[in-house]
């Protein structure tokens, strides 16, 4: 894939905030694609990327899509809204599924199918299906972090696993990892800025992701942020970001505690399960030496076994669905803290340069260089991006945890319901007292089978 010119990003990076159009102001734009925008039907060598005009306008501006957006804006109740269909357009759908093992002489690894459906003009085709491995996701994330330093990039599942401890190819591990990768891509696809990143585009569409060649798509913002000298020290963090930082610290702590509690519960449940299984077998062996009581005791053994199965299911669920999400959010918090730090750095740089420039001006009337203003712009963009992402993150966090905890409660309810059903059907067996009439007893037993 050849890219000729750097693409303007739909972030506030290049223009001062005041000049960036509000996403919804796209309603004023013409409905048909403008002269600068490449029609998706045409197969140019350029992979559907526009030149020049920064694309603040979400694309393609089809009537129905705009209509939907306007409606969504009216809906102010956050609870009824699908978190992944905010006031932005929902025209990029990605899914990760179908894990497959690849064995080569050098290594063994898993690939996942990444499917894309989109109506965006930045993409040549409306649909893509590629295979990617974890390394590729890692590459994407690094690229996103580098090229969008003012934004919060969603976390990836853990990279390294202890080879001896965890089976990298076990069904549960692969399943859990795949779900996390799916979430990762979905979060990016739903982000109003990140979803337009060309690295994402490449990731989703390219046949072979030639990472070594690298896409020289670092924007000016990216470069300039990267080149921030580390010598500046922040004096005062603005109060809203202080609060943010404090919240992150406390939340991180609480999540860690919850993770530990959940793990402890799983451990206790596993030990309980071991004893419970043995408990069931004793009833079964007792049944062997009884006549009248044989059926009741076998019933007991069966009932206890059913409860064991139900408990096993619940524990597995918790282990696969609950814990990974917790850990993911802990990683998310780390990402957020990093962005916060970078923001601090940009503020520090600006303040440092400003101070130096002011001093020089006082000395010999040198005017304040344009560089300082650029720094100020950068910092203000950073602040705005961070605030916007923070709001998104809070809202998503609320939905995610609501779902997570409701799911946990649900699983417990299901577990108890299964057990209750088993015990209730056992009572029927136990109360069956047709011991005088052996024939009817036998037929009842047959019915119960």
């Amino acid at each position: 894939m050849s890219i000729s010119a750097p693409r303007g990003l739909a972030s506030s990076g290049q223009k001062p905030i005041t000049e960036i159009l509000h996403p919804l102001s796209a309603a004023e734009e013409p409905l048909s694609p403008g002269p600068d925008v490449t029609v998706s039907g045409g197969r140019d060598k350029e992979v559907g990327l526009t030149n020049g005009t920064p694309v603040e306008t979400p694309s393609p501006a089809s009537a129905s899509v705009l209509f939907n957006r306007l409606h969504l804006d009216d809906d102010l109740d956050p609870d009824t809204r699908d978190p992944y269909a905010d006031t932005e357009t929902h025209d990029l759908f990605v899914t990760v599924d179908d894990p497959k093992k690849h064995v080569s002489t050098m290594e063994t690894y898993i690939t996942y199918r990444v499917s894309t459906k989109t109506s965006r003009i930045e993409f040549d085709l409306p649909e893509y299906s590629v295979r990617r491995r974890y390394q590729d996701f890692d590459w994407l994330r690094t690229k996103l972090e580098d090229s969008q330093p003012t934004h919060l990039i969603p976390p990836l599942p853990e990279k390294f696993v202890m080879k001896g401890v965890v089976d990298r190819f076990s069904e549960e591990f692969v399943e859990t990892r795949m779900k996390a990768l799916d979430k990762f891509l979905k979060r990016i696809a739903d982000h109003p800025v990140l979803s337009f990143n060309p690295h994402l585009n490449a990731f989703l569409s390219a046949k072979d992701l030639n990472k070594r060649q690298g896409l020289a798509l670092l924007t000016k913002v990216g470069e300039s942020v990267k080149s921030v000298a580390g010598g500046y020290k922040l004096r005062v963090r603005p109060p809203e970001f202080c609060a943010l930082g404090e919240y992150l610290d406390t939340f991180n702590q609480k999540l860690g505690t919850i993770d530990r509690i959940a793990q402890r519960i799983l451990k206790e449940q596993s030990e309980y399960l071991t004893e419970l299984r043995e408990y069931g077998t004793v009833y079964a062996s007792w049944a062997g030496s009884e006549e009248e009581l044989q059926r009741p005791l076998e019933g007991m053994a069966g009932c206890v076994t059913t409860c064991c199965g139900a408990l096993e299911d619940m524990s597995e669920n918790m282990s696969q669905d609950f814990l990974p999400v917790l850990r993911e959010y802990i990683l998310y918090i780390e990402s957020m803290k990093n962005v916060l730090r970078k923001r601090d750095q940009s503020q520090a740089e600006y303040e440092g340069r400003l101070e130096a420039a002011v001093l020089r001006k006082q000395e010999d009337r040198t005017p304040i260089p344009a560089e300082v203003e650029k720094c100020q712009d950068k910092m203000e963009c950073f602040n705005a991006d961070l605030k916007a992402d923070w709001e998104r993150w809070q809202s998503n966090k609320r939905q995610d945890f609501k779902q997570l905890l409701t799911g946990m409660a649900d699983k417990n309810v299901t577990y108890y319901e299964k057990c209750q059903a088993a015990w209730e059907s056992l009572i029927t067996v136990l109360q069956d007292k047709q011991t005088e009439d052996k024939t009817s007893c036998k037929s009842l037993w047959e019915i119960q089978q």
Binding site: T257, E268, W286, L405, W423
Partner: protein
Amino acid sequence: MIIETKSADPNQTIFSALSCACAENRQQSTLPAQLTAAAAAVLWQPITMADSVSSEEVAVISNTDITSTESENNIINTMVERGTALLRKLEINVAEAEKRTGKNTVNMQETYTVYLIEIRPAETEGGTPAAPDTLWRRYSEFELLRTYLLVTYPYIIIPPLPEKRAEFVWHKLSADNLDPDFVERRRVGLENFLLRVASHPVLSNDKIFFLFLTEEKGWRDAVLETGFQDKADSRLKSLSAMFRVKNPDKRFTALKQYSDELNTVISQLLRIRARVADRLYGVYKVHGNYGRVFSEWSAIEKEMGDGLQSAGHHMDTYAASIDDILEEEEHFADQLKEYLFYTDAVRSVCRKHELIQYELEMAAQDLVQKKQQKEELATGTVRIFSLKGMTSKLFGQESPEQKESRLAALEQSIQEGEETVKEKNTECQEFVRAAWDDIERFKEQKDKDLREALISYAIMQISMCKKGIQVWSNAKECFSKM
């Protein structure tokens, strides 16, 4: 007796129900003395094996999910309906327990617990229940009574006492004999013992038992006067002796084997149940930590705060609920323990039978030997080796007079031997008949009791599941409001 699941107060266990009822009914004044004597005259009958009443079913103290008055009535009524003459006249309760201190046999101070036994006439017409006759007994007196019964009725499976020391405990329960929970469960066990004896077709007619219930001071002397101690000693000796029976009764062999199996399996079950209880306790209690962390977390949240906080309270409720749940389960363990101890009584009957059988075989063998000796002496042939025979061979025949007197002595011996064999045979047959009567009764009782114990256990589990569903549904609602 069919148990239906009624939604009553799930916290009301049968034992607490009984003690509530007892507390309500108890009054301090005593029965007039005449009644005691009259009752004694009516109730006590001479005990013969032939007169034993045919086996009746004994009701079980294992109802659940019913109100206290209902449960109490159920027990008493069932026992009276199918019961013995004794229970038709009297209601028996072990109402309470008290600590006492006093000097023991080696003149040292000790603390022990005494139990209050209440007897009152069974309700005939409606009206206020009369004041009970009461006396205090300690555990060792119950043991004495039981030993007496064991010795006096060796063909009966004597109901067991509750355990002397707490065994099969899970970590929360105390193994201390003076611990109030242990004392309470023992009180119930002792009442159960008395009711079992009182509802037994043979044992309920025993005079010593009746005196145990009515005569606080003079009872000990009365027991000792029966001279059962001597029998007790010889019984112990014989039970621990090793002997081999030539033609064991297959039924008794099978019964002993079954009894051993039952003992093993119930011990296993009790041990594992204790471990299961321990683990379950752990699972529930850890959830309490969620309560705390949700509360802390809710402090930093805006919209999510309320939901988290309330959910945390439900987690606390969940964690706390395990205490009651496991306490109720102890009741099931107690029912199993009773039958564990019953296996010892069964074994003891089997051993007694073996002993009687052995004695019969020995007597028969002895008789055969003597008859052979006589034949030898009479015909002059030596078929079996005897010292007398050898010496007479070696040192010459004895005189006809000597031979005559020896024959006469043998004849006498043989007659005595035949009497002995006949007696032993009768004894054995009587024992077998009476024992199997009781064994059949016991088997039915055991099947019924254990089935009902399983039912009440299942009901407890259902109640636990319902509580779980309740709490987690509440938590779910809180979460969905986050």
